[in-house]
Symmetry: C2
Subunit: 618 residues, 2 copies
């Protein structure tokens, strides 16, 4: 990926010609990247401002980062501007330090690779992909930077600040982003009902908040594996996922190049990055779970804290005594982290080092403001296993750990299932909220049936919308490739779009302030045959426009007062508009007045030639 490619990202959404500059191209496509201003000049919250043909604007939440901002130059080889650095430094509670020395095994290589040497990525899979420029198979070339951490073990977390009554620039930023009061944001964080993942070593991030009283968020997983994928594909997937609305990205890479991949992703990511440090730790011990130790794990966590990972999945709730509870399951343990820890517990017949060292782990995370995502290692992997004793036993342990983490001022969210039939979904949210003191719930789906591999974005999109409505704060996407393979670029887009639908449907059902404005604007455009406005307001304008054009390709069709379903002769929307014009014009008219006017209107209707359909020339 090169600067040129980043430029492509900028304009991917735009229908303008290549001779236009990016701003012109955006305007031609009916929108532009705008910013909301805060109380100080360096608080600039990005929004997508859609220009409607009726002269009004609709402002939409925007996760796409500086890549869609024509006023900014982006170059993936330099990384994004560290826009939060001044906020972090000015708090005066962190300091730079030399940091941990990079080890060859950080990238999962068995031979010695000195820092700066080229580490070759795996060959790309045979699958056709949108071509991306190569050249990322090397150590990130951007500015060298020393890591930063809390002075003297202080808590530098947004939770600690919120509890002290302090509204940070990050909190004000998300308040603007969510159309909420900054004090409300602070209260929600202080209460532990929301987290604001923002590692002091990831100053490139645009602050966002995860909590049930805010917009429901979507996470997209990326990551190479031992089988396929490469560094540049993962960076491309990250920018692509955020382009379509991913609020956070988890880098779940395994195999080689883990450290290098993550560095490229972090330095170029405008959204918080999550990881599962256990995956990298396992690579460092040659994939042998029983060889894991607290020391290897701790070292890996510090490595990732120094790089800037914003939240970490920690499967500390998988206890030795829980493992036998999974023995009679249909699909046992399906969480990779859960099964690693189960194997370790079995091999050593000791309690999990994640559990026994949990307080020490809290001490590390709060020094960088890394947020816990307490992993559900025993989540059900099939409908048959949903809501079973293994799952809820672990949840109770996660409740204990949530209290410990919060006592250490570490921001904490809790992960949830998985595969759950619809009638068992609500119990998951209610129990988690009760047991985990309202800590944000972060669920994978859940998938509502097992019978549709290749369509698990849909089986899980159903469950995601419902669990979002009932209080889940963030939804981890599932792509069509779930259970079958690694997602490519198209799968990432499909997964993100499906989950943005689920999240927005949940926002509507929760009555989130302002959520319905988007639907209303699009429905108004639909009713008034403003086709271009419909496209520009759509979650995926490109595909909506493409589908329309496939049936009615000519440009005039986009202003036609009919659609391809009914054709030009008769259109139900047109009749409705007639009715609205006839009866709806007088604001405040009572039902009786309307009723009384009907006969007269009916006569007008006939006198006007009974124009219930549109002549072709209209």
């Amino acid at each position: 990926m090169t600067a040129h490619h980043a430029h492509n990202l900028q304009t991917a959404h735009q229908s303008g010609e290549s001779t236009q500059n990016p701003r012109q191209a955006q305007e031609a496509a009916g929108w532009h990247k705008d910013h909301l201003s805060g109380s100080r000049p360096d608080i600039r919250v990005p929004v997508r401002r859609v220009h409607l043909t009726d002269g009004t604007d609709v402002i939409l939440y925007d996760t796409s980062g500086p890549y869609t901002d024509p006023t900014q130059d982006t170059d993936v080889r330099s990384g994004l501007a560290p826009s939060r650095t001044n906020w972090i430094i000015s708090r005066g509670d962190t300091e730079e330090y030399p940091g941990r020395a990079l080890q060859p095994e950080d990238d999962g290589v068995k031979h010695t690779t000195p820092r700066g040497a080229v580490v070759r990525a795996r060959p790309r899979s045979g699958e056709a992909e949108t071509p991306v420029a190569t050249g990322l198979d090397e150590v990130f070339p951007g500015r060298p930077r020393r890591p930063r951490r809390a002075r003297r073990g202080a808590a530098v977390s947004q939770l600690a600040y919120a509890r002290r009554g302090e509204i940070t620039p990050e909190m004000e930023y998300v308040a603007l982003r969510e159309h909420r009061d900054p004090e409300f944001v602070r209260e929600e964080i202080a209460a532990g009902r929301a987290v604001l993942p923002a590692n002091v070593n990831h100053p490139e991030t645009e602050p966002m908040i995860i909590g049930r009283n805010f917009l429901v968020k979507v996470n997209a997983n990326i990551g190479n594996s031992a089988v396929v994928s490469s560094v540049e594909e993962e960076v491309e997937k990250m920018t692509w996922a955020t382009r379509w609305g991913a609020d956070t990205v988890m880098d779940l890479s395994t195999g080689r190049d883990i450290h290098t991949t993550r560095e490229w992703v972090l330095r170029n990511s405008p959204v918080p990055i999550g990881t599962v440090p256990l995956y990298q730790a396992l690579e460092k011990v040659d994939g042998r779970a029983e060889k894991l130790s607290w020391e290897v794990y701790r070292d890996t966590v510090i490595e990732q804290c120094e790089q800037g990972v914003d939240y970490m999945t920690v499967h500390a709730g998988v206890l030795l005594r829980h493992v036998p509870l999974t023995a009679r399951r249909k699909t046992g343990i399906v969480s990779r982290g859960g099964s690693i820890m189960a194997a370790w517990c079995l091999a050593h017949h000791r309690e999990s080092f994640l559990y026994t060292h949990f307080e020490e782990l809290c001490g590390i995370l709060r020094s960088y403001d890394v947020t816990f995502s307490l992993g559900d290692g025993l989540r059900p992997g099939s409908i048959a296993d949903a809501n079973d004793e293994a799952q809820f036993a672990e949840l109770r342990t996660l409740g204990e750990l949530t209290a410990v983490a919060k006592a250490h001022d570490v921001q904490t969210m809790v992960e949830g299932p998985g595969h759950v039939p619809m009638h068992k979904i609500k119990e998951n949210v209610e129990l988690q909220q009760e047991i985990c003191e309202d800590a944000p719930f972060y669920t994978l789906g859940p998938l509502t049936t097992d019978i549709a591999p290749a369509y698990d974005h849909i089986t899980s999109g159903i469950g995601a919308a419902m669990i979002g409505w009932w209080g889940t704060a963030m939804l981890c996407y599932v792509t069509p490739k779930e259970h079958l393979g690694l997602p490519n670029r198209d799968d990432v887009k499909t997964g993100v779009i499906t989950y943005k639908i689920a999240a927005h449907a949940a926002d509507l059902a929760k009555g989130h302030p302002g959520a319905r404005e988007w639907d209303d604007a699009l429905s108004d455009a639909r009713f008034e045959f403003r086709w271009e406005d419909q496209f520009n307001l759509a979650l995926d304008p490109d595909t909506a426009r493409g589908f329309h054009d496939a049936t009615l390709p000519a440009e005039p069709a986009k202003t036609a007062h009919f659609c391809s379903m009914c054709g030009p002769k008769f259109c139900s929307m047109k009749i409705s508009r007639d009715i609205t014009e006839r009866f709806g014009g007088e604001e405040g008219a009572s039902a009786e007045e309307i009723e009384a006017g009907m006969l007269e209107k009916s006569r007008e209707f006939a006198a006007g030639g009974n124009r219930v359909y549109l002549p072709l020339a209209d």
Copy 2:
């Protein structure tokens, strides 16, 4: 479409080589078409029997008709065998009669086209489609047949038989199909909680039942329009939709060739066919709603009854007094039928002829056993309009009409919305069930947000699953082209698969007997790395296999004990299987016994080389 093409349909699902005969090809693909036997030799209920590699079979519901039966010859130019004819004749309550003479305007042509002359279809859209043989643009060439109707106006409906305590062959057939007792089927029909749409003039149909105490059903809409599509495309879409699981098909054709298209579809359809007669009636009056009359409408209904339409949408609940209630809506009236009737009411300032002649209509429908689908002409077309007074006023009228229809022994279901946010869905089912005496509810989606044109199969699949769980009996699919254009072959498949997911998720949530067996069989296969079994059990085996092969194309990968997500070195499923083998083996072992055995097992684990991951050679 030719006989050869029908053969393609047979094998579309099969991975066998073309030199195999169809049965061999099915067996090679891991399944075969089988039949369950009833109390008499002519009751043979089709099933899809999937052969698993562990030697067991899973039997799945099958809607694909004789096209997937290698023992039957099918030729779309002859039509399917009229397998119900003997049942109908032997009841002795119907008779053949000359029937209504075909009129030129039945096909929407303005010039005179004598029966048998070639009526050219519209040009195909420019969009690339799977090539189909042409030749359907003519009057259906199959055997001439005189229509059949009740003797002396008797009620020949399954409802009438059920009320008399009679279990018809059709009822026994659906009992076998649903794994229910025939008497239970009769009771549900007699109570009006279920309908069995089966026009005496559609003897080709394989009986199926729609009711909340049976499997949730899926309808697929097809139909040309004035803008695009042709006869052969519609027949192809019907066979294609049922191939993927559509339980009924609605032919919503408008424009020309309506009668001819419907004849081809009916004579070749193994599933009940629904229509909206108002659409054809409107064509007969040049698309001018105000020119409609009871006489034109009644004639059209009789035309369609004689052809064999199994259920008809009738928008008799759109009353004059309801129309002003829509005036302040965001999107007015979006139902095509609803807006036609609203326009008629306004133009004449009289009550709808569908309402004033409803009892006469009942008399016609019960003479053919055509089922009412009482249309929701005032359904909401946007989130803003959900559950408003216009919608519920019409629903109350539909409740009145349901009672009238059932008093005339006419089977009746009731249609529902539309666009509804999640928190307002349940009220729709509860009100409909209360107001309409538990008549089956048949809903379009509902769409849970308006913001995602091009993805409305997903916005609505979410709502469909939920409303199905809460009691809706049949779900009308929505394709990705909703609001944008007419669905092509791929869109039809995507719509059907999405809705089969929603329906099955609802069956699971309702605890429908046997529903979970399918999930369990697939999850067992997944846990045991039986990849071929996973594919063969999948709702869409082709796509599941294709996605897997895109990442791990080699044949050995299909028997590999790992998947592409984790790679060969570490696999969570393998660890789980180890745990199951270690702790789950002894049936009936208590939790204490399991606990007690853990230390020992742990030692065995270590002694066995800590094999928590699989060597590459495994």
